[in-house]
Amino acid sequence: MNKSAYLTSFILVVILALLPLVLRPYHTGLLTLILIFSIFAMSLDILQGYTGLSSLGHAAFLGTAAYVAAILNVKVFNGCNFGIELTAGVVSAAAMAAILGLIVLRSRGVYFLMILLASSMMLWGIAFKWRKVTGGDDGLSGISRPDLSFIGFDLGATTDFYYFVLFFFVCSTILIYMVVRSAFGHTLVGIRESELRMHSLGYDIWLHKYIAFIVAAIFAGVAGVLMAYYNRFVSPSELHLVTSVEALIMVILGGAGTLFGPAIGAGIVILVKTFVSGYTEHWMIILGIVYIASVMFAPQGVYKIFQEQLRKGLFAWKLSKS
């Protein structure tokens, strides 16, 4: 990353940090949700955009982490034990990926997609039926948020909770950036571009995919735990196919294989969902139209267009100066 990219990122974070000062609490809450989904979508992008693995079961990891954190919160601690809940949530998401990965990564393409989809819906079924532990379709409510009063944060307040999520968003983004820029991340792109060649060059493709799968699940797990605190409630819908599909749309809409693309996609999807669902329950139709339009006119995603325009703008500005 060059200097101007660091500067842009820094400015972005500053803007995100200042936004609650001008937004109404309702909108700050919405922005919080967008940040949580951004982490989720960016984690999926490690698979979709970088490794070339299309997944329709990513909700499995979000949901597992959310449920584990929620069960500990509501049934075990009767209150929030943040360190343990976050760790347990993330570790269980990673473990789930480690188990599912053994099965699903044996297959490729559409088969991979279908087997993972089926596995994740099985988890949904468990959450739905195992009423004693998961609360069934009533879900688990009464989740208490972490207590950060010792540093003067009241996470019950919308704005304070927003900063709490922003912190995790920034950390996750930095870590994901490091992964995709690493030597390992380079091999993932190689797998996306040509598995055959990677194999004959001596790479154990399965192992690389497996590690990527677990890393992606870890960040999906972070999003899941945050989601549980945000809603103060978890339900089987966290594990549902619709959640996986939404994430995939966010990634493709924003720009697969880019760092910030999925975050922009998350923003668009959640705004459409929120505002259109106020007028009609058929908001999925509008989202569908937006999605089709983006695939037709911006197949590389919104972020690439934005980048292109920015580059042209900068170029014109430099020309006018010289």
């Binding site: 490091m178 820029r181 690493s182 030597a183 571009e193 040509s194 001596g202 790479y203």
Partner: protein
Amino acid sequence: MEALEVVKLSKSFGGLHAVRDVSFRVMQGERMAIIGPNGAGKTTLFQLISGMLTPSGGSVFAFGTDITKLPPNRRAGIGIGRTFQITQLFMNLTVLENVVLALEALHKMRFNLLRPLSSYRQLLAQAEDILKRWGMLDRRDTMARNLSYGEQRQLEIILTLSQNRSILLLDEPTCGLSPEEARSFVSMIRDLPRTITILIIDHDIDVTFEIAEKVMVLHFGAVIAYGPSEEVKVNPRVQDIYMGSQ
């Protein structure tokens, strides 16, 4: 020392016997060509040796180790490198990044999740060196997909050669190269140290005989002639197949 030994290797696809009972030995440092009409099973044989396909029967040994059941990446580790008849490049990566991926496969760093690739200065310098040697340094930042066909073929070969594997399987390496490019390719291959064993499939008979001292002729999946190039050239059955019977 035998670099490669193939014993009664067969592969059938349904009723089609693409490779039948092929046996041969290649000593370390030998250069062997596999020729034969289209559909003779040459590429299938390469797929079997490199592990892209599993044989229906027979075995493959490399340096005395039975590799018949090993996946391609393990065979690469034992020393088998190959090029592809149909170009297999990382099209959306730059030329330099392509070579870096080939080099990275040989290092533990491929599992480093946190250290940026750009910080491996030595590896990048090594990749640049390789490009320089092949006269492609000026293309280092070009996307592989934007290269000309000839350049893509060249990169195809560079990727394989840069790994310094001890057995090279070259599948139609000069296909699509201009005569000059083909000539510089031949001299490049001839300059390789004699510790490296080479198996080559090529339609260009001149290229084949300039590189290889031994020739194996395949016809409908079976070996019909095998020996020093001079002998094979005058073998009446080979002439039959290539020239048609008189």
